[in-house]
Symmetry: C2
Subunit: 377 residues, 2 copies
């Protein structure tokens, strides 16, 4: 009870100091707590609440109820498998973030609490954790876009040792989906953790990963956007057609190849993306045949018949990998499998990977983990 | 009313999709809205709430009440002067973030919504905005710490043009306070915005700004910390004495000078910090006389009499600037003015700057804006 009173005092204190923009002591409550058996305990202090529920992507139920004792609401999950999970509380019907957990991701315009756990070497969670391995550099750098007539921001992953080496590295261009921006893959997608871990384990070759903003009329994520208080939405952070990004790609590639120590040429260049970014990857690879050796389309593809002539030229240039990945419950499964069938009918070598689940980051992180192991080898 | 129903539908939708970790459509409500007269309107949807209050560092009151109509709670402030402001809602006595505003800062363990506005060229807010000026690069890079026996992360600001130029740049080492980390100055401190704007206006010379993690036993901010679910606190993110950071500084400096194109020598090297980082700047500058030409102590200083011999050596080496800044309501004002008096008694050239207010980021951003204009000239 002392601990609870202390934590309520902490909260009160937070209110006072937030009014003077000073210190942020948090709540003094541990939530979430990952237990020894990989169950997870959530705690939330609110003596006045009538009902507190938990929603999370680790639950089979739509939501579960927390139990209250002395003003502290608690729920302990069953043991979980290694993964990056997200959750929120529903307090008297209203969604709330966990004030005890500093770990959050923003997906378009919604912040959600997250936590990561790994139960065994090599599970999905293992690749999303900050393990004790050499870490690459994450750079936020701006390039001049003639098309957009503005500077636009890129997120760039440089493998560990880049700065001290004279070596050149192959480049993966990694594209986000509708509503996203140049932070989506590095934050929601765990690109740095996945690449650090794969490279440390010798499962991927050291490579540069370039994560552009795929909405050419937008310069950057909200935090640095010149439109003050820019609030991203599906629509204002989406390009209805792929052409602007097709047109922009050579400018981005030229900037990257003149700014970083890059191995050039088809078999040192890969592109992949999720959803809209998968459509971008389809479109850019067929637009510039012979320049991209590895193509990954995650939950987003394009029409074979509508692009027959360009696909013929693309495959004539012999890309080493044309990889179509989609979830069995994903709305775009039909177009993805249609592209696979079109490739097969035309004897275009393509790989098709189908996972469980739908149009979600949980799948896209897995697709990146798999795709990164297949390229530049 | 349609709009409100739509937004409530949006909320419901957010709940559903958060359970499957998919899209984040936000609330469909605009909050905060900066009005033409620089008043700011806050909106919050919650038909069930009994009271909704607002706390914020722009209010003279401890809190103000929002008014409810059709389930939407609203408050409009009086016109505000240019500044970066923070606020939270208090819903039936419980602190809540604004679900309609993606802009947030984390201070130690507490996330708070923020907004920025500028009412005239050159006001404080002007330097914190993402203006249409050339942008520098923000890099998160890891160095090997012999003392800590781990890789530790630095945030580094590289001025616009660094990558395309052959020029060397002077370096400012910028240190955070207790509870902070290598993200504190770039996020709460708006370092990139301040430097971009000052450099674009010719008020500061292009410089590299290195923002280390000042707690040597910690490798990095939570997001990349190898301690899974690391929750920062004042204590676990603080060094009780300055010695670990004094001992670490040469390792950081050596890494920076061997990794980036840096002008070396006393008059190309500056150090500044806030609170604990001010004490670090005091300690590091007196520990290594003749190596740092410009010293800034923001709301944190050290004892003259206890360091008489080293201060004598420091000032014998003729630093160009020894700058002590503090707020008139800051608890450390006494020690700061005591150091000023000690310098004056010993004819050590020092500058003393006293602002209004207390031990808060609002002051530290101003101190950086002023200090950056005084160095390397």
């Amino acid at each position: 009870m002392k601990k609870i009173l202390a934590s309520i005092a902490f909260l009160a204190c937070t209110l006072t100091v937030s009014a003077q923009q000073a210190l942020g002591p948090g709540t003094g409550i541990k939530s979430p707590e990952i237990n020894a058996d990989n169950s997870v305990t959530f705690r939330y202090v609110n003596p006045k609440a009538v009902t507190v529920k938990l929603v999370g992507d680790f639950l089979t139920e739509r939501s579960v109820d927390l139990q209250e004792k002395d003003g502290v609401w608690t729920y302990t999950s069953k043991p979980l498998v290694g993964e990056l999970y997200s959750y929120s509380f529903i307090v008297d019907g209203k969604r709330e973030l966990d004030p005890s957990n500093v770990y959050m991701n923003r997906d378009i315009a919604t912040w959600t609490n997250i936590f990561t756990l790994s139960t065994k070497e090599g599970d999905a969670g293992h690749y999303y954790m900050n393990n004790n391995v050499p870490h690459g550099t994450i750079t936020k750098i701006w390039y001049d876009s003639e098309q957009a007539k503005m500077d636009r921001r890129l997120t760039v992953y440089l493998p560990h040792g880049y700065e001290k080496s004279k070596a050149k590295y192959p480049v993966l261009y990694l594209l986000h989906g509708s509503g996203g921006d140049e932070n989506a893959w590095s934050e929601l997608g765990r690109t740095a953790q996945i690449m650090d871990n794969l490279i440390a384990e010798g499962k991927a070759v050291p490579m540069i990963v370039v994560m552009p903003n795929g909405v050419v009329r937008n310069p950057s994520a909200p935090e640095t956007n010149e439109t003050n208080m820019f609030q991203p939405t599906m629509m204002n952070s989406r390009d209805q057609d792929t052409k602007p990004m097709e047109d922009e790609f050579p400018t981005i590639k030229k900037f990257v190849e003149s700014t970083f120590r890059v191995k050039t040429g088809q078999y040192n260049t890969a592109i992949a993306g999720l959803s809209m970014g998968g459509r971008h990857s389809f479109a850019i690879s067929r637009r510039y045949p012979g320049t991209i050796g590895y193509v990954g389309m995650f939950s987003g593809a394009g029409s074979g018949p509508d692009n027959a002539k360009e696909l013929k030229a693309l495959f004539a240039a012999k890309p080493k990998l044309y990889w179509i990945a989609v979830g069995s419950a994903d709305g775009v499964k039909q177009s993805a499998s249609a592209l696979r069938d079109y490739c097969n009918q035309n004897n275009y070598p393509c790989e098709y990977y189908e996972s469980d689940g739908g149009h979600i980051w949980k799948n896209w992180r897995v697709y990146l983990t798999l795709f990164a192991q297949k390229i530049f080898k």
